[in-house]
């Protein structure tokens, strides 16, 4: 195993701390500048039955009567102690909301991520090995088309075809109506997961397939590949036995590094399928001006993406000894 040395850990932790502080300052500033007046959004249609005095009380309850820097300082002080405050719209601690919602989203993201990774990789290697064949052309057209397809549009199309016209898949939600998540069977959950996960994977496949294809083409022209071919190996044999490792490394890295996009895609997909995960909570928080929740989710997603990149870094070393040795020599 490669050494995850103390200095490596400290460096990464320092970087994470820096990222989180920058992200929270930036997010807080953006939210403060947002044209959405949370009090107005909250009162909504009750405008005429709420007097100015009562409005002042609402402002006070949310601590919006203090200047923004002071609010940020208070929030940051609590956040450092692990208390991200109360979500205004869920009436629960932010950490609880994120915890619950993330579990729901995790199912969706994990299945989409695995599917798109594996499928994309296989398609990419296939296309790269048989360059300019019919299969390659089909895969390329598919990838280019999908790479420029917005995920919400894809979701709507799938929804219109499979749920509304054919009635094969549920219209929305994570469980059937009237069944609480605790009582839902595994099949019911999967059934509700199919379309959102398919939406995310179909789109995610494109990037990884195109990337892998390029790398495979390079690998197939490398000296070791030519040598193996000269020894009578079939093209597929060379691809899957020799080129695989060199192609897998960037693919895996890319897959881990794309957690941010996965997160963004899931926000849109969850919106389309009313899938009650973290993505939907993000949109709600944004629309209704739930600042504590929005900041909490922003921090959480930063950690999430950071973790993805960190894993990619470590895997690099595992899959390719040269990087590890290089890093050790540099020290």
């Amino acid at each position: 195993m490669h050494a995850i040395s103390p200095s490596f850990c400290l460096g990464k932790l320092g970087r994470l701390a820096l990222i989180l502080s920058l992200v929270s300052v930036l997010a807080f500033t953006l939210v403060s500048l947002s044209p959405v007046d949370p009090v107005n959004a909250y009162i909504g249609i009750d405008r005429m039955q709420i007097s100015l005095e009562q409005e002042q009380r609402i402002v006070k309850r949310w601590g919006l009567d203090r200047p923004a820097p002071e609010r940020f300082a208070i929030w940051a002080g609590h956040a450092l102690r692990g208390d991200l405050g109360q979500s205004m719209i869920f009436n629960e601690p932010v950490t609880t909301v994120i915890g619950k919602r993330f579990v729901t989203s995790l199912w969706l993201m994990a299945s989409a991520w695995l599917l798109s990774g594996l499928l994309g990789f296989v398609l990419g290697v296939t296309a790269g090995t048989n360059r300019n064949s019919f299969a390659d052309r089909v895969i390329r057209v598919y990838s280019y088309t999908l790479a420029s397809t917005p995920s919400f549009w894809m979701g709507l199309v799938l929804l219109a075809v499979f749920s509304v016209s054919l009635g094969w898949t549920p219209i929305c939600c994570a469980t059937p109506p009237g069944v609480s998540p605790g009582d839902a069977t595994l099949w019911q959950r999967l059934h509700h997961l199919i379309l959102p996960a398919a939406t995310l994977s179909l789109i995610g496949v494109a990037q990884i397939a195109l990337h892998t294809r390029e790398k495979t083409i390079d690998a197939m022209h490398s000296e070791y590949a030519l040598f193996a071919l000269a020894q009578g190996e079939s093209r597929a044999g060379v691809a899957w036995r020799h080129a695989m490792r060199n192609v897998a490394l960037p693919a895996v890295t890319l897959q881990f590094a794309s957690l941010g996009e996965l997160f963004g895609g899931s926000v849109l997909a969850e919106q389309v399928f009313s899938y009650p995960g973290l993505g939907k909570a993000t949109v709600e928080a944004g629309i209704r001006g739930d600042v504590p929740l929005l900041l909490g989710i922003t921090l959480f997603s930063a950690v999430f993406v950071f973790a993805g990149n960190l894993i990619a870094d470590i895997l690099y070393g595992v899959l390719d000894p040269r990087i590890r040795i290089g890093a050790e020599e540099a020290r």
Binding site: I43, R61, C172, P177, G178
Partner: protein, 533 residues
């Protein structure tokens, strides 16, 4: 079969058979009946299910019960209260509550809980405005006294809308796990997805027919698709979708006071601005002749047909058909000749032949502003602008992105607003000059001393019943008022009809005239709903 019908015996036999069949279906009806009802009517609360923060203001708190309530004709009737009286000076409410009320955990509901609920809601900083309440106290196990700071006949609406919470169980987690004395109790809430409720066995009223309710909190399109797929029994749809059909469901349109109207700045532009720098006044709309001409020129029937697909009714005031509405608000509209005459009599003439009238060098031009994301308001604004062109008034229609932008313009431009509440305080906020320009109250700075007098008198009347004629007089007392015959500070256009599809087997009884904001209010009488085969 025809062999039978030829002789009397046969007919008798047939009748007997038919009778048996009917009996058979009646006997088997409960077996076929459903005990779970699935609704997609929006209305997921922002703060959870805590009445002290505002849950249940509309229609039905479901998990809690209120001291009083409005029946389907909007008359005020007792619910938890068995007797109520307001002191001579109008400052003290004395209420007696029923002795058989229990919360869903089996504990007794007493006057302590009522007093606690009112005092907590007053301090909570939610959507319950109890600013005029001094304090609530228990005068015995079943007696409650609520003292007001000043006379306020609209306070009775708080007795109607505030659900009572148990003092012993109310705290930070309550909004997510409510316990109350209403017909149903909460089973589970998954925010953004659904809420499941089941019958409260301790409910003192009639046992509801449906044992279990599932409320889906999906957006309009998803709800509609779910209805098409046969997954829901009640769904609220926008008027545009109401013209469609859903197999196995019937359209259930509900009358409402969810109105749309044009707000006019009623003062001229003297360069004044608000403390936030928003300009005040508009030289064109400050002339009552312009507003009255618009009022009679607009063809409201056409707006209902064209914009609302027929799901609505013309609006002549902010509270059409409510107990405090003045029936004399109705007048003949769609009359461009009358509009032209009003303008001409007031000195508005088209001298340069461009089709727009002018007076003292000012053209009859203004901007009508609507929130860009509201289709109905946009279509109304465009249609009205078309109707005004033939009478020589030029309205430019413009959508704005956010309410914050609109707030800045609402003292100087014409705005398409929508209101409508089961509370006459709204009439006060729309027309009284005392709070003009605060929040969204009377943004046009309309001021009529006589109207102010009636409005203040209505709030300070000796009781709710005595306030009703005063609310009506504020709208029109025979010589002056805030309606179209008077100063016309607003031109009311339409009242929407809220459109629901309900299962053809579901009997939802008589729905109340609903307030602004549709969805939840349809559940006001949910304990009376039944399933018929």
């Amino acid at each position: 079969m025809h062999v039978f019908t030829q002789c009397r015996a046969g007919r008798l036999l047939l009748a007997a058979l038919a009778g048996l069949l009917v009996l058979g279906t009646l006997a088997s009806a409960p077996a076929l009946a459903r005990d779970t009802l699935t609704l997609a009517v929006k209305g997921e609360p922002d703060d959870g299910y805590d009445p002290t923060l505002g849950w249940g203001r509309y229609g039905n708190p479901l998990f809690q019960s209120t001291l009083l309530k409005r029946d389907e004709n909007l008359n005020i009737v007792n619910d938890l209260a068995t007797a109520r009286s307001l002191s001579e000076d109008g400052l003290t409410w004395n209420l007696t509550i029923r002795e058989d009320a229990r919360f869903s955990d089996g504990s007794k509901l007493t006057a302590e809980d009522v007093a606690y609920t009112f005092n907590t809601a007053a301090k909570a900083g939610g959507k319950v405005d109890l600013i005029n309440m001094d304090k609530a106290e228990a005068t015995g196990e079943y007696g409650v006294r609520i003292t007001l700071k000043k006379r306020d006949t609209t306070f009775i609406n708080r007795l109607i809308s505030l659900g009572i919470v148990p003092k012993a169980l109310h705290g930070p987690g309550y909004a997510r796990r409510p316990v109350g004395s209403g017909p149903y109790k909460m089973v589970e809430w998954n925010e953004g997805q659904q809420m499941i409720a089941e019958i409260n066995p301790h409910y003192y009223g009639d046992k509801p027919f449906f044992k279990r309710l599932v409320f889906l909190f999906t957006d309009e399109d998803t709800s509609f698709a779910a209805a098409k797929a046969g997954k829901v029994d009640v769904v609220v749809v926008p008027q545009a979708l109401a013209v469609q059909t859903i197999p196995g469901m019937v359209l259930h349109p509900v009358k409402s006071v969810d109105n749309r109207g044009l707000m006019f700045p009623c003062v001229p532009d003297t360069g004044q601005v608000t403390d936030k720098g928003a300009p005040i006044g508009n030289d064109v709309t400050a002339d009552p002749a312009i507003r009255k001409a618009i009022d009679v020129a607009v063809d409201r029937e056409l707006l209902v047909r064209g914009v609302l697909e027929g799901f609505g009714r013309p609006a002549y005031g902010p509270c059409d058909g409510l107990p405090w509405d003045n029936p004399e608000n109705v007048f003949k509209d769609a009359d461009p000749d009358a509009a032209r005459k009003i303008l001409a009599d007031a000195g508005w003439k088209d001298t340069d032949g461009d089709g727009i009238v002018e007076k003292d060098g000012v053209k009859a031009e203004f901007t009508v502003i609507y929130p860009a994301d509201r289709a109905i308001r946009q279509y109304l604004a465009l249609a009205v602008a078309d109707m005004l062109r033939p009478v020589g008034i030029h309205a430019v229609v413009e959508g704005k992105r956010s309410w914050d932008e609109i707030k800045h313009l609402m003292h100087s431009e014409v705005i398409v607003f929508g209101w409508g509440a089961h509370d006459p305080i709204e009439v006060y906020q729309l027309y009284s000059s005392h709070h003009a320009g605060e929040g969204f109250n009377n943004p046009g700075f309309y001021k009529n001393d006589k109207v102010d007098e009636y409005l203040d008198a209505a709030v300070a009347a000796e009781n709710y019943e005595a306030s009703l004629p005063l609310w009506r007089k504020a709208q029109w007392d025979g010589t002056t008022g805030s309606n179209g015959l008077g100063d016309a500070p607003w031109v009311w256009l339409v009242n929407l009809e809220h459109t629901y599809f309900v299962s053809e087997h579901l009997d939802v009884g008589v729905s109340q005239v609903e307030p602004h904001g549709h969805g939840w209010p349809v559940t006001a009488n949910i304990q009376k709903w039944t399933w018929k085969d």
